[in-house]
């Protein structure tokens, strides 16, 4: 019983960050129709930036955000404006190719600069534990959980009840009508891409403490993000968040109850099962 609770807690904690990763992708997808295959590599870029700042200035990853967040926002805006926008009107596969190219460039760039050996980014809270009954939780996971839920809530509120949020939804629902209302559609696309990548800077800081950094780790985050995105129904933001939690929990259950290799398969098996029976996403009809 304790084991089960432990797995559930761990899964929910880490799953919230998966949800955050996927929200970033969902935001980009809903506005620009782009599936960003370099998503996970931006997470690793964010983590390596934390590592570099720790090496240079001994900054805690949470503090590093003051630098990494603006950097990633700008990188996101530039990548959309100068790489994606020129091919955005072309075949959808062009953009897929492009983001795959960005993924490889990031991965190998990181390998060149930081080398292939694993790195660590320590944090002051890293070794702290939180006890809830018999369930032991690592402090960085608790921080990640609280921060992810807070950010997701903030994102929902912005989308639901601010002008900029309405403009984003308007571009998603009918870009032409939005343009006729004076919305600068391209600017909204650049901005949401930047925010989507900026969210990854935050996710990276939340994931960094205790995670061994490898240049190739991005792919795993991309895959997890895609799972949560599809499971959530692509544009249903609440669904995406729930899907992130489902992936996190099935990963944790798999690791505790099944052998190593089998455990790794569980999230994918759960994904396949849910998509088989609910192809429209985990929360029923998607909002698009």
């Amino acid at each position: 019983m304790d084991e089960l609770l432990q797995a559930l807690a761990q899964g929910l904690l880490i799953g919230s960050t998966y949800g955050l990763l996927a929200l970033g992708m969902g935001l980009i997808y809903s506005v620009s129709g782009i599936v960003n295959f370099s998503h996970g590599d931006f997470v690793s870029l964010g983590m390596y930036l934390c590592f570099a700042l720790f090496g240079a200035l001994a900054l805690d990853p949470y503090v590093s955000l003051a630098v990494t967040l603006p950097v990633m926002l700008i990188v996101g805006a530039l990548i959309y404006r100068f790489l994606i926008q020129p091919v955005a009107e072309a075949h959808a596969l062009m953009v897929v190719q492009l983001t795959l190219g960005v993924a490889l460039a990031l991965q190998n760039g990181i390998l060149m600069v930081f080398g292939g050996q694993p790195h660590r980014v320590p944090s002051v809270v890293e070794a702290k534990l939180v006890m809830l009954g018999n369930v032991v939780m690592r402090m960085p996971h608790v921080v990640a959980f609280v921060a992810s839920l807070a950010l997701a809530t903030a994102l929902f509120v912005v989308l639901r009840s601010t002008d900029i949020g309405r403009a984003i939804r308007a571009v998603h629902q009918n870009a032409r009508a939005a343009a006729l209302m004076g919305v600068d559609v391209n600017r909204v696309k650049v901005m949401t891409f930047a925010v989507g990548i900026g969210l990854l800077a935050i996710a990276a800081a939340l994931l960094a403490p205790g995670t061994p950094l490898m240049p190739s780790m991005g792919l795993r985050y991309t895959v997890i993000t895609l799972l949560a995105l599809v499971l959530g129904g692509m544009t249903n933001f609440l669904g995406i968040m729930v899907a992130g939690l489902v992936i996190g929990v099935s990963e944790a259950l798999g690791m505790i109850y099944l052998s190593d290799t089998l455990g790794m398969i569980l999230p994918y098996a759960v994904f396949v099962l849910i998509v088989l029976f609910r192809p429209e996403g985990i929360l029923g009809q998607s909002r698009s």
Partner: protein, 234 residues
């Protein structure tokens, strides 16, 4: 108020509009007539700035806006109510109206604009929290017009407002257009419905394959044989 001189518009290799000259005076209701694909919507999109002007110039209140962005034009009060309404289906009626008032010059007056639209269209006032996608075609047309009014339209450009509506709604929408016109709004009306347009418009232009072939008062346009041929594609 609005004047275009020698305007061309192209879609790739296709010239959708050639050497178009047109004028709209303040307070006028001007009709733009023509068969399908005659270039009516293109002309309207050129005025809105979402189709670039390939040649010629566009003036609004004597300011050259040929190169102005779509957003700038909305801020100046050149507002299009597009064909097929294009409301935001998953937003409430209220949010659609708020979207209308997104532009910088309309935003401060948004609440008054919405109140005015509610007065003009009581049916919308009853449905402010309903999703726009669940409205009937006629109600969506009201919403699209309302959205344009909240946007602060000084030149309201209506693209086929009667399209797909029941005769009763067509009559109602035209009464509203007439009322807006009588209240002093300048209107450019694109329509296939020749008779209705000729009844309400001060002046009309007839487009045929990208060229303006007839222009004049409603009576002149009605009596011009080229109008009929432009419509029948003869």
């Amino acid at each position: 108020m609005l004047r275009i001189e020698g305007v061309d518009a192209v879609y790739g290799p296709v010239k959708a509009l050639s050497d178009a000259n047109l004028q709209i005076g303040k307070g006028e209701l001007v009709g733009l007539l023509g068969a399908n694909n005659a270039g009516k919507s293109t002309l309207m999109n050129v005025l809105s700035g979402i189709v670039p002007t390939a040649a010629g110039r566009v003036f609004f209140e004597d300011e050259d806006i040929t190169k102005a962005s779509a957003r700038r034009r909305v801020e100046m009060g050149i507002v299009q109510v597009p064909e097929g309404r294009l409301v935001f289906p998953q937003m409430s009626v209220r949010e659609n109206l708020l979207m209308g008032g997104m532009n910088a010059s309309a935003r401060p007056k948004r609440a008054e604009g919405i109140a005015r639209v509610c007065e003009l269209f009581p049916r919308l006032a009853e449905r402010l929290d309903q999703h726009a996608g669940t409205l009937s075609g006629g109600e969506q047309q009201m919403l699209a017009i309302g959205r344009g009014l909240v946007a602060g339209a000084r030149l309201l450009m209506l693209d086929e407002p009667s399209l797909g509506l029941s005769p009763l709604f067509v009559k109602y929408i035209f009464e509203i257009i007439d009322k807006l016109h009588k209240d002093g709004l300048t209107i450019l009306l694109v329509e296939q419905n020749l008779n209705l347009t000729l009844r309400f418009a001060n002046r009309c232009y007839v487009l045929e394959r990208g060229h303006i072939v007839v222009e004049g008062t409603a009576d002149q346009v009605r009596d011009d044989p080229r109008t009929r041929s432009a419509y029948l594609g003869l």
